[in-house]
Point group: C2
Chain length 443, copies 2
């Protein structure tokens, strides 16, 4: 029933709804999309299935496989680090998914049994029944659409923490739930949020500052940085309370979609949250003004899709037998790549080679280098097939251990990006990988 409702919802959306509908994408774009989604399902980024791929395509939380989880985790960690570790004063925060907001609209959490009990009561007439259900709805927790309210509710206690000195910010990440269009289905999105509190006269400058910072961040990890851009929101598209807005866009094969949105929101929502008690909200900067709010909110599920789309290279080349082949490589940034190194065995005594692999795997795990234990595969595979597979997984390096390694300690390391195979001593590989990843992080 729920699957049906997702399907219904996907159909009803296909030309209009959601955060942004996709209408008749160009043939090239739709081909690229098909290849990308197939690769993501084949290579453990997302779980297989059409509905799941469609959730993913919309930039909603879907069912992620092991590589997708790591990629999103890496992305969120980088975001968190860049925001809470910036030169500006930003503090982390985490609030429950359902909140005390009193709104007529939005998603509510109800207990099925509780509703059933009311529906089963034969002593209630029609009006009483409606009254009971309205009461239930009103007292049900509302599920958050965004992380903004949580930050606003924590403003006063945070202001004390910084000795009432502006500016400062509150950062949070977590799932948010958006009802889509009355069809009863919801979009779950992993949001990131920075809520920045500053003096009214500086808010527009801060909007520009954060838009620059955010764009720089997205581009840092991009293969084609020009696919990421920022635009000012036109005045006629501004939200009710906002005086200015900016968006960070990614140019998907089917057109641009927004990854992050920044608003100059003024003080209205802050005043509303504290019921207009201005004295609670004032900072010690001499003026008696209430701080203005700049919000920066991102969709990291769509961020995952953007980086996957951005990093997929399709290269045509001839193989050894002069047949035209297509090579697909996910050239994810070394910091984001979910698997840094794959370990496989070549010719030689299997038991001994496996032991070497296990020792190496342990070494990688201790150094927090995520490794793929290819040597556990029971089906033998040609080196060519292995390389093609690892390129599609976006694995940075693949290592083959063979009988040579047992004798001389030497192994073969192949790079995803250069396709060059290097010989290296087994004692050097961990250090080599650590250095490579650290260097890429600092670029």
């Amino acid at each position: 029933m729920w699957i049906q409702s997702i399907r219904r919802c996907i159909r009803s959306h296909s030309c209009s709804g959601g955060t942004r509908g996709v209408c008749s994408p160009a043939a090239d774009g739709s081909d690229r999309l098909r290849v990308l989604l197939q690769l993501c399902a084949d290579r453990f980024y997302i779980s297989p299935g059409e509905s799941n791929a469609e959730l993913f395509r919309r930039g909603w939380s879907c069912s992620y496989g092991p590589l997708g989880v790591e990629l999103r985790g890496n992305l969120l960690r980088q975001w968190w680090h860049s925001v809470t570790g910036s030169k500006e004063r930003v503090f982390g925060l985490s609030t429950p998914s359902f909140s005390a907001e009193q709104r007529a609209a939005g998603a509510r959490l109800v207990e099925a049994e509780h509703v059933q009990q009311i529906l089963d009561r034969s002593d209630l007439n029609r009006d009483q029944l409606i009254q009971e259900l309205r009461g239930l709805l009103l007292s049900s927790p509302s599920v958050r659409r965004s992380l903004l309210q949580g930050a606003l509710e924590n403003f006063v206690s945070s202001l004390e923490m910084v000795n009432r000195k502006l500016p400062f910010g509150l950062a949070e990440m977590g799932p948010c739930f958006q009802p889509s269009d009355g069809s009863g289905c919801f979009a779950e999105v992993n949001q990131t949020s920075l809520v920045w509190f500053c003096s009214p006269r500086t808010s527009s400058q801060w909007l520009d500052h954060w838009a620059r910072q955010r764009l720089k961040w997205w581009r840092k990890f991009a293969l084609s940085p020009s696919d990421f851009s920022s635009v000012e929101v036109p005045e006629n598209e501004l939200q009710e309370t906002a005086s200015r807005g900016m968006k960070i866009l990614f140019n998907f094969p089917w057109g641009p979609e927004s990854l992050e949105t920044l608003w100059c929101r003024g003080d209205a929502e802050l005043l509303q949250t504290y019921k207009g008690v201005r004295s609670k909200l004032q900072s010690r900067d001499g003026r008696k003004s209430v701080p203005h709010v700049v919000s920066v909110s991102g969709n990291m599920d769509r961020g995952v899709l953007a980086f996957l789309s951005n990093s997929l290279q399709q290269l045509r080349r001839e193989d050894g037998k002069k047949r035209l082949q297509q090579r697909k490589v996910l050239k994810l940034h070394p910091v984001l790549a979910p698997v840094k190194v794959a370990l496989d065995i070549g010719k030689g005594a299997t038991v001994e080679l496996r032991q070497v692999c296990e020792g190496l795997l342990q070494e990688f795990l201790e150094a927090k280098i995520s490794a793929w234990p290819g040597y556990l595969e029971t089906l033998p595979s040609s080196l060519e097939h292995l390389n093609a597979k690892y390129d599609e997984m976006g694995v940075l390096f693949s290592v083959v251990i063979n009988e040579n390694t047992l004798e001389s300690g030497l192994l073969q390391v192949r790079s995803r990006d250069t396709t060059i195979r290097e010989t290296m001593h087994i004692s050097e590989i961990r250090h080599f990988l650590s250095k490579y990843i650290t260097a890429a992080d600092k670029l």
Copy 2:
């Protein structure tokens, strides 16, 4: 209204409900609890407020402040690393918070407007109204209580990934929602889940294996490891489908509560998820049996509370003027401590000292050492007060930069655990901290 319902719910629970009720704790335990909750609110672990402290005390997701977020983040990261980086084959997974489970009971996500529209329809008689609402309820997504179902639904595609070879596991972490007792309120809990698939004859051994591993993990970060223990669940308390169960307990001041629960679940739920199609589920181990499931599920919100409770030391000592003073120290494990180093300025030219602090802060952030910018505080504070504050925050080291530093490059580093103040050159401090934390991680 929602706050009232939380309060009502808290009252109704105080002697019976929730995951475990707390009845008339011993005076000593309740005193320790009061001190702990006050400290957590004062020192930015949780947001202030009585209802929030009560959510926290129950081991539910509450509103966390900057230190609480980091602590929980560190804990989750360690868990993820220990499980997906273990010697066993465990793959990460992430599934949406609402699922396709068809259950009569449980929490449902409904759109308030949607319900209102039905209640407003004057053309429906009582029976039609009830029918419409039942339909709505049935088609509403149900919000997950645990992460088990998501893993079961991903079993078949994961089995392909491992070439149909057992054993292997699927790990996930994320929020789960548990309706409490029909009062309309819900507990949100950040769960961790490892679902382990193995041959039927080995499942009991694997239960023991994972129970040992998990207990070892909790104790690794404990100040008093003996507060953590494991117990076998008595036969008469076993869940319907389970043949055995174990719990990892923490001995809170008010009594033991369970942090993690392990069950031998058999194959019933797996068969149910795949509608009894055994052929889909069989591994290639020769026998035609369906794998058995061992589940390991933890509550990391309660985990945070456990480590805070475990690490709080209250020491009485005389101050310089022979007055009896109480020193409170959060001796969190170096890996878990949310702030590794605090930076403050002593006597000297403020502008220059701040510049030195900013340079040092940047250096720490680049090395991913979380630092507290105490030098930004505008209110002057005595060194004694500062130390007391940082001890309560669980800050590992505090550094004071003064006019001496400008001349000689030397600074004062105070250790939380020894209270000893050491002189160190400014160029050595980053390396010293990195080495200290890495060493503690490897113990």
